[in-house]
Amino acid sequence: MNLQEYFSLVFSDYTLRTITLGTAILGAVTGMLGSFAVLRKQSLLGDAISHAALPGIALAFLITGAKDSNTLLIGALVSGLLGTFWIRGIISKTHLKSDTALGLILSLFFGFGMLLLTFIQKQPNANQAGLDKYLFGQAATLVESDVWLMAIITGICVVVMFLFWKEFKLLLFDADYTKTLGFNTKIIDILITTFIVLAIVLGLQTVGVVLMSAMLLAPAAAARQWTNSLSTMVLLAAIFGAFSGVFGTAISASQDNLSTGPVIVLVASVFVIFSFVFSPSRGLLFRQIRFISNRRDLEFQKTLSFMYHIAETHDDISHPHTIKILNNFQGFTRKTLQKLVDKNYVTIDGTMWSLTEEGFKTAANLYNQNIKTHE
């Protein structure tokens, strides 16, 4: 199947439609919530939560013996929340920094989860196969009920975000100030964190424990490059996330043996790279272009004012001089000279240059302006 076939089948084929919808919704909700995580400088939180969810999945299986996704996801939710509150506890009760707390919980829970997974795999229970799909995710296992669950949770998340928008923004920008205004910052914090945990748990089946944090961070990091408004950033992150989901699914469905989760993450990373390079205000490309054009302007002005100083000493301002005296130290390049000729500030005759009337006037103005700004 190629990409074209995929897009013609996506509306009619049940499986494709389910998976595409699922990854799109997942991308949107993680993108939205990821904006909050990125702005709180808790980028690693997503990684810690997703890894902390693994032992929950294994324990849920060991206790119930069931393998349906909802049971396992409840286990993931419980252990994800537990990990999150431990992280908060470590940060507030000890003097460890948050990155240390995140790292500790991440490796502790993940290690325990892996231990349980290997234990389960040694069991003589035929039912045990396939639990390891939660490590890297398997979008193909998504069924309609999973997508409904994602849609409902995303819906609730959007409503809550809309209601508490003002409180979220306030807490993200200035938590201490939020307290002095009389808001209970713990409630706002728990609301945001709970939704981040929910979104991550929802994505485990599709993208998996290891790559889940990229879904949270990549769309948000890309969105930040394009806007200076929080609402636009959240909206853009949702759109980038959803597109990553759809394109990732399309690419993986149109090739054999490309698992969906990693492809979605790679597509999201393309958004990031593109945004880092091409964003008009914050992108590397335009910054470099601005830098080069500023330098050119400066060289142009330097050369012109150097010529002015030489011309000043002669009665005839258009007295010809040799190009050789315009050495590199004066910012002279062939291009600058050509630009001066194009602007009709300078005429060139063989190896000699001479300032025109117009060029002399412009240079004089430039010179006076410089003196004024230095006063």
């Binding site: 928008w165 003002k166 923004k169 306030l170 201490d176 307290k179 205004l181 009389g182 929080l230």
Partner: protein, 263 residues
């Protein structure tokens, strides 16, 4: 030289404390500790209504901590705070706060006006969104600090002094009775400093109480009418004219200070 003159002119000696005899803030036995090490030790403090007060002391004296503990940002291990005779948590709407400029990430995606609007959130309470009235008040506050033209500017594109003015405007829009400010003059140029002190003096004229963590001892007699010396313990508090002297400065800073105070 020109700038020095303007600073002097900003100060006029005829402004005596307009204390009304009512206590705006009363702090009892306040003790704060980090890691078992006391940062503030048994602070008793009475701040009369209508004063413009500086809190001075060396680095690590607990000046910011005092403000944060009064405002409930930090949890004290002992002590209580009352605002106009009632517990602080019942009187929050009477109190506005200007944090240190460096305490937030100025690259946050928002505009100057948006930050000032945050000052209205407390009175709005949960869920309710700011409307026309709040926007109007915020624009007025921006005008007061001379930042109206920058209202839609992204906050990272403002200079340090402009950011400080935005924080001040955010507190002004709270329309409080008591203003706590954590080093509002830190890293601002002379023009901004004069603009800020003029606003603080206007606030006092309107009967508000203003409490400022301050570093520049030279300007204390010019700017303030009330002062608290702090170094973990409270050294002294009272009218600048009476207690801003070498004796208290030496007690607070531990070295022999000579600051000539013109009375």
């Amino acid at each position: 030289m020109k700038q020095m003159d303007t600073i002097k002119n900003a100060h006029s000696k005829d402004e005596a404390p307009v204390s009304t005899g009512v206590l705006a803030v009363k702090v009892d036995d306040l003790t704060v500790a980090y890691n078992y090490k006391p940062v503030l030790w048994d602070i008793d403090l009475e701040i009369p209504e209508g004063v413009l007060m500086a809190i001075v002391g060396p680095n690590g004296a607990g000046k910011s901590t005092l403000i944060k503990a009064i405002l409930g940002i930090l949890k004290p291990i002992a002590g209580s705070v009352s605002i106009y005779g009632k517990p602080y948590h019942k009187q929050r709407s009477l109190v506005a706060y200007v944090p240190q400029k460096g305490s937030v990430d100025w690259d946050f995606p928002t505009t100057a006006l948006d930050v000032v609007m945050m000052g209205t959130y407390g009175k709005l309470g949960w869920i309710k969104r700011p409307g026309v009235k709040e926007k109007k008040a915020s624009l007025e506050a921006l005008e007061k600090v001379g930042m109206l033209a920058f209202q839609s500017r992204q906050i990272s594109q403002l200079s340090g002094g402009q950011q400080q003015r935005i924080f001040l405007a955010r507190a002004l829009v709270q329309d409080a009775s008591i203003y706590f400010m954590d080093e509002p003059f830190q890293g601002v140029d002379a023009t901004t400093e004069i603009a800020i002190i003029n606003i603080l003096k206007e606030l006092r004229k309107a009967g508000k109480t203003v409490i400022v963590v301050h570093h520049d001892l030279q300007t204390v007699p010019e700017y303030f009418d009330w002062v608290t010396f702090l170094n973990v313990k409270k050294i002294a508090t009272g009218p600048v004219m009476d207690i801003f002297n070498d004796d208290n400065l030496t007690k607070t800073y531990g070295i022999n200070y000579k600051v000539s105070v013109q009375k």
